[in-house]
């Protein structure tokens, strides 16, 4: 019994073991091993084409891996559609281009999945949605359509939409890369607040300031491999790997 309790306490939020992926002949992800503890915040960085987006997209099966294991919250990702659905319910995701549903209002965007996937009554779903829209500081935009909002507002709605499903893990795929410089901060503020509330987060981003303030560990990827993984202070001040040093010198120059 005691062992069982210890085991559940130690259960990883995400566990990736020896994962490989190919696009046709092209070997995009090579022997990925990663453990994310509940509540841990991980920032993934690396040059474009290094496989960082592909890696986090494997976690909720937007991409299929061909070898190795991915275990999310104790459930292994297989072709079993039941497992995939169960994992997607626990894992929220924000995209570079927001991917809000343009034909629905902000509130409807947020309510849709709770109503249709969680079978929540509409009224309750709307209350939950308003709660999260307040948390991302745009309750006043609830009746507008995504096309009427700025990029930063849209990304905050996208975050609220994911949170409405009450996920245990949040994936961010370059959430600020498509934003104007003025809007990056408002999105990062929401993400920092989310991190402080104890959410397990995996975040692909080039915002090094964000990595320094909230990340528990920073992962550097190149050529489909995890090159280096370390605590942020260590990672930025004392990078071990030559490739990491080069990358950091490139992006921190300005």
């Amino acid at each position: 019994m005691a062992e069982d309790v210890a085991k559940t306490n130690e259960r990883m939020a995400v566990e990736i073991i020896g994962m490989h992926k190919w696009y046709g002949e092209f070997h995009v992800l090579k022997n990925i091993n990663l453990e994310v503890k509940p509540g841990e915040r991980i920032v993934v960085c690396g040059p474009s084409g290094s496989g960082k987006s592909t890696m986090i997209r494997c976690i909720n099966r937007l991409e299929e891996h061909q070898r190795g294991k991915i275990i999310v919250d104790g459930i292994e990702l297989t072709n079993d559609i039941k497992n995939i659905d169960q994992i997607r319910r626990e894992v929220g995701m924000c995209f570079q281009h927001f991917n809000l549903f343009p034909h629905l209002t902000v509130l409807e965007n947020c309510c849709l999945a709770p109503i249709w996937v969680r079978k929540m009554p509409r009224k309750e779903a709307e209350e939950v949605a308003m709660k999260y829209l307040e948390r991302v500081k745009i309750p006043d935009q609830a009746t507008k359509y995504p096309g009427q909002l700025s990029g930063g507002q849209q990304q905050r709605v996208a975050i609220a939409r994911s949170l409405c499903m009450n996920p245990r893990i949040m994936l961010f795929d370059e959430p600020t890369s498509a934003l104007d410089p003025e809007m990056i901060k408002e999105v990062l503020d929401v993400m920092v607040e989310l991190a402080e509330s104890g959410m397990t987060m995996l975040c692909v981003t080039h915002e090094m300031g964000f990595a320094k303030t909230v990340a528990d560990s920073v992962i550097f990827m190149d050529g489909g491999e995890i090159i280096e993984s370390n605590k942020p202070e260590e990672f930025f001040n004392n990078p071990q790997h030559e490739r990491t040093q080069l990358f950091l010198s490139q992006i921190l120059q300005h």
Binding site: N60, R89, F95, F101, P102, V117, Y145
Partner: protein, 365 residues
């Protein structure tokens, strides 16, 4: 350092030559000698064509009467149309039962009115009833044989009634079938995809006339002897199959225009295939292809006239047979003009409705 205040430049009126009727005429019709010449030429052509047409159709036309002797003023003889009007509307439907068609038309209009009222709360249910319940009510009203209504053979249905029955059933059935075929064609399941492609390419590759001939002449040969299979029903199935193939390709165009991110966002939220299609992808895709869908509807509406070659008497066939009546020889122009105007009214109505729908569904993206 002093701060320089900026005073905005005041608005000035535009030059006189740019405004008013004269400005408009000068800008659009007489901007140079070539345009002036073309304007005058256009006015001359309009004068030579429109004036005689109006004169023929309205000013010199005969409207009232009972026989061709009442047409003596040299213009259009609309008496021909008014005498035959009931046949054009109801075909050979027994006169004593024609109230059933009128009743059905009135019922339909009454049901549709609330659909256009913004604040009507039960739109969803009423819409469902119009789509699924009304066809059943309509069938019993037209065909009879139950509820004390006398049975009327489908071979007696005709005129505008038949045209509307054919196109309404065609539209209501072809759209959902077309959507399913479009989804099937984009499916990841190889057998579903292959069947959809085969169905679409087969029906799209055959002229509608051939389909109708097959349905009316060939099909009975393949069926076991003695099987009675209504001719109208056979034609309807042919039309629905044919149009759903076209509809499928229109809808597929819309599906392909939806960004991949929409599919991914729906998946990431845990929506199943049918929910993400029904709630996210199709509402957007169908909205995009409203012009194409209505285009197909209009084509379908006009294509129903082809049923005359298998001996069904739709509006055009009724008019054509009326022009061959020895008492009314020589008035086919009036008949065809009437057919053209009637078809135009329905097609233009569909077109306007679709434009209003597009504006209503526009959400600013």
């Amino acid at each position: 350092m002093a701060v320089i205040q900026h005073t905005p430049h005041e608005d000035l009126p535009p030059p006189v030559s740019q405004t008013g009727i004269i400005g408009w005429l000068r800008q659009n019709l007489f901007s140079n000698w070539l345009n002036s010449l073309l304007t005058l030429l256009a006015i001359f052509i309009l004068w030579k064509t429109v004036v005689p047409l109006v004169e023929w159709a309205f000013i010199k036309a005969d409207w009232i009467g009972t026989s061709r002797d009442d047409c003596d003023s040299g213009g259009a003889c609309w008496v021909f149309v008014s005498v035959r009007f009931k046949q054009f509307m109801y075909g050979l439907y027994p006169e004593a039962e024609q109230w059933r068609i009128n009743f059905m038309a009135i019922l339909f209009v009454l049901l549709m009115i609330p659909m256009f009222i913004k604040s009507f709360p039960w739109k969803k249910w009423l819409g469902m009833f119009i789509l699924f319940g009304f066809p059943i009510v309509g069938f019993y009203l037209l065909s009879g044989g139950a509820f004390g209504l006398e049975h009327v053979e489908t071979s007696l249905w005709g005129g505008l009634t038949l045209t509307l029955v054919l196109s309404a059933v065609g539209i209501v059935a072809a759209l959902p079938l077309g959507i399913l075929l479009a989804l099937g064609r984009r499916s990841e399941m190889p057998i579903v995809r292959a069947l959809s492609v085969a169905f679409i390419e087969l029906w799209r590759g055959v002229p509608l006339i051939t389909v109708l001939f097959m349905a009316s002449v060939m099909l009975p040969l393949f069926l076991p002897e003695g099987t009675q299979f209504d001719k109208l029903l056979r034609a309807l199935i042919g039309i629905v199959m044919f149009q759903s193939a076209y509809m499928a390709e229109v809808v597929r165009g819309g599906l392909q225009a939806i960004p991949k991110g929409q599919y991914e966002a729906a998946e990431a939220l845990g929506l199943s295939y049918w929910k993400s299609m029904g709630l996210i992808i199709l509402p957007q895709a169908l909205k995009l292809v409203i012009p194409g869908i209505v285009n197909t509807f209009i084509a379908l509406f006009k294509d129903t006239t082809l049923v005359l070659i298998i001996g069904l008497f739709d509006l055009l066939a009724m008019i054509q047979s009326a022009t061959q009546d020895t008492k009314w020889l020589g008035f086919s122009i009036e008949g065809y003009v009437f057919a053209a105007v009637t078809f135009w009214i329905f097609c233009f109505g569909m077109s306007r409705y679709s434009q209003a729908l597009e504006r209503k569904l526009h959400t600013g993206h």
